[in-house]
């Protein structure tokens, strides 16, 4: 078996075909990829592009239909936090179980168990209690602590960093970065959070409709991905976008700003059009405004402004009024999600893009020049 000495993973013509009842579909086609040892590779792409299929094949969960891949050293797929945890077992027993399932030899677990407990921050008097008595945050932290101490040469991480509290997430990210730099570990990372992905990964690949479209440095790839998705929305109606999640009980079909020219500090109205299967009660629409680097900047939500209509009609429009646009000059993206009684009905990432032209946030004030995106908040200076 040959593998160039600087590579950790090499795939050759990797493909996966799923047989459905009547038809066949390729979830992944002809993927040729060289991943260098010690690098972090991000994987981006719309829903259904084949990202998770690629992860499943590489972590050995399913067999490829065509092609092959080689890897050097040990490989661990981290598709979930706390895999195998059993509620009736104690925290300590669960550490042993989960670490063993993820391939850590028992001898090494025994050496590291104190570090793991320490990292998780769970008080020692709790560690011998069944984890069914833990809070959900504690369970997640315990799972992460195990994950952070798996010393596989190659780590495949799927979006798991999206859970847990923020400070603990940061701690895990830092621990992962450290291991990459010091121990030459290779990381494959899938995330919808383009900001995190760019921070962790220097290189990225873009998958679209089961094919590999682009390999390059992660900033370019993320930009390309955003543009591609948006170009698609410009040409295709929002209504026709199929890369959405959720039950589909309601579909967002329009997102429109007026006026068309948006300026910092000026008035704006966002119109949201939707189509539902029936009249709905207790609906909440959550909008995230993200910067051009994918970083989350501003939340807009019905419930957080205490707007709770009893019933919304089958189809119609909602409007969001913004008195002073707080965003600085630049490009912004909208993620939108509709929730009915706690169930996600529609979830559209990168639903639309808008541009804010510069302007003064406060009348007669200056513009704050920066190449980055940002949000103004009302504030007062004094002397």
């Amino acid at each position: 078996m040959k593998l160039p000495s600087n590579l950790a993973i090499q795939t050759e013509k990797l493909g996966k075909k799923y047989k459905l009842r009547s038809s066949e579909s390729w979830a992944l086609k002809n993927i040729n990829l060289d991943i260098e040892t010690g690098s972090a590779l991000g994987i981006v792409g719309p829903n259904g592009a084949g990202k998770s299929t690629l992860l499943k094949i590489l972590s050995g969960l399913t067999k490829p239909t065509t092609g092959n891949y080689k890897y050097r050293g040990s490989l661990t797929g981290l598709l979930e936090v706390g895999t195998g945890f059993h509620p009736d077992l104690s925290g300590l027993e669960n550490i042993y179980l989960s670490a063993a399932l993820n391939g850590m030899p028992r001898k090494i677990i025994r050496e590291r168990v104190d570090q793991i407990i320490d990292f998780s921050g769970i008080p020692t008097e709790y560690i011998n209690q069944p984890i069914k008595h833990y809070s959900s945050g504690m369970k997640v932290r315990l799972g992460f602590a195990v994950a952070a101490h798996l010393d596989a040469d190659i780590l495949i991480v799927d979006e798991v960093l999206a859970v847990g509290d923020l400070s603990f997430q940061e701690k895990c990210m830092r621990s992962m970065e450290l291991q990459m730099h010091e121990q030459g570990r290779t990381v494959l990372f899938v995330s919808h959070n383009l900001y995190t992905l760019q921070k962790l990964c220097s290189k990225a690949i873009l998958l679209d409709r089961s094919k590999l479209i682009q390999i390059g440095n992660s900033k370019d790839v993320c930009e390309n991905y955003i543009n591609k998705t948006l170009n698609r929305t410009d040409n295709v109606d929002l209504e026709k976008r199929e890369d959405r999640n959720g039950s589909g009980k309601i579909r967002i079909n329009k997102l429109e700003w007026s006026p068309q020219l948006l300026q910092t500090g000026k008035k704006a109205v966002l119109t949201i059009g939707y189509q539902a299967k029936e009249e709905l009660e207790d609906v909440n629409i959550k909008i995230s405004i993200n910067g051009s680097d994918g970083r989350f900047l501003t939340p807009l939500s019905m419930h957080s402004t205490n707007f709770r209509p009893k019933l919304i009609p089958e189809n119609g429009q909602l409007t969001v009024n913004i008195e002073n646009i707080p965003w600085m000059k630049g490009n912004y993206f909208i993620d939108i999600r509709v929730i009915e009684k706690g169930i996600v009905c529609d979830d559209l990432r990168l639903a639309s893009k808008f541009q804010v032209h510069g302007g003064n946030y406060v009348k007669d004030g200056d513009e704050f020049h920066s190449s980055k995106n940002g949000v103004f908040i009302p504030h007062v200076w004094s002397i």
Binding site: M1, S5, G15, L61, T62, P64, L75, E80, L97, A100
Partner: protein
């Protein structure tokens, strides 16, 4: 850097053995077995007493039903209880492995769809757990036979051989049902019936000679059951009853056929498991 290079290809055979695969099987099997032992008897009143209580209750049931109600008699003037209980530990072992091993993949599907490990580890871990009970039941029988009849001999290699045969046959069955039930859960629904049928069709609580009563010259069909060889093997080990005939070769052959075909089935389904679950 001289770390080992692994390769995975779409054309890999299911018979591909690697050291890494073997190490993973061993490690995961132990982890699951340890989990099951730790979880065992949590929230029960009598706890580990049940390792002794279970075989005792089974023995009393067999004695009550087969000896007192339908009055089966043991051949060669043996006491019925000594005769019937000789195969009982092995049957309880087989029953445990099939009963727990068959649904083990479906029950742990949340783990299967997230972590990759050799799937046969799950039924295998159930067999390890069952061995603990088997040891207890065997010791109980050894004491019972000694006290009742004053015989204390113990043919270790015979015992090991037939215990191993029991594990192979019941693991083979568990592998088969586990592999098929990933797609067709129906098999889990009829599992209790299957086990009950196997118990009644195997010469565990009655002598093998009774077979000829039923089918005459088609008697050999009943020897397709691997537990015929196992039952007669244990009676030979414990009581010195020699009832071997040429038909027993069929039964021995079936042990091997069932184990290897079951192993093939679970390896074959392994690649499709995550897509189907």
């Amino acid at each position: 850097m001289n770390k080992k290079i692994h390769s995975v290809s779409s054309s890999d055979s299911i018979w591909k053995f690697t050291n890494e695969g073997f190490r993973r099987t061993r490690q995961v099997t132990w982890a699951f077995a340890r989990r099951d032992l730790q979880l065992r008897y949590i929230q029960t009143r009598l706890g580990w007493f049940w390792s002794i209580g279970q075989p005792l209750l089974a023995a009393i049931l067999v004695l009550f039903f087969f000896s007192w109600i339908i009055e089966i008699e043991a051949p060669f003037g043996f006491n019925y209880s000594i005769y019937a209980f000789a195969c009982l530990p092995a049957w309880l072992l087989a029953q445990h492995i099939i009963m727990q091993g068959s649904p083990s993949l479906v029950h742990n599907q949340h783990i299967i769809s997230k972590v990759s490990f050799p799937r046969q580890s799950l039924p295998l871990s159930k067999a390890l757990v069952a061995l603990v009970d088997y040891m207890v039941a065997t010791i109980l029988y050894f004491l019972f036979r000694g006290i009742q009849s004053g015989i204390w001999d113990f043919y270790f290699f015979n015992f090991l051989f037939y215990s191993f045969a029991t594990i192979l046959a019941s693991l083979g069955i568990a592998y088969w049902i586990a592999a098929i039930s990933i797609r067709f859960r129906d098999w889990l629904a009829i599992l209790p019936l299957l086990i009950q049928g196997l118990f009644l069709l195997s010469p565990i609580v009655y002598p093998t000679e009774k077979y000829s009563n039923a089918l005459g010259e088609f008697e050999w069909i009943l020897y397709l059951n691997p537990f015929v060889a196992i039952a007669d093997g244990f009676r030979w080990t414990w009581l010195g009853i020699n009832s071997w005939s040429e038909l027993h070769y069929i039964s021995f052959l079936m042990i091997i056929v069932i184990y290897f075909s079951g192993y093939t089935a679970i390896r074959y389904s392994e690649n499709k498991m995550v897509d189907t679950l």
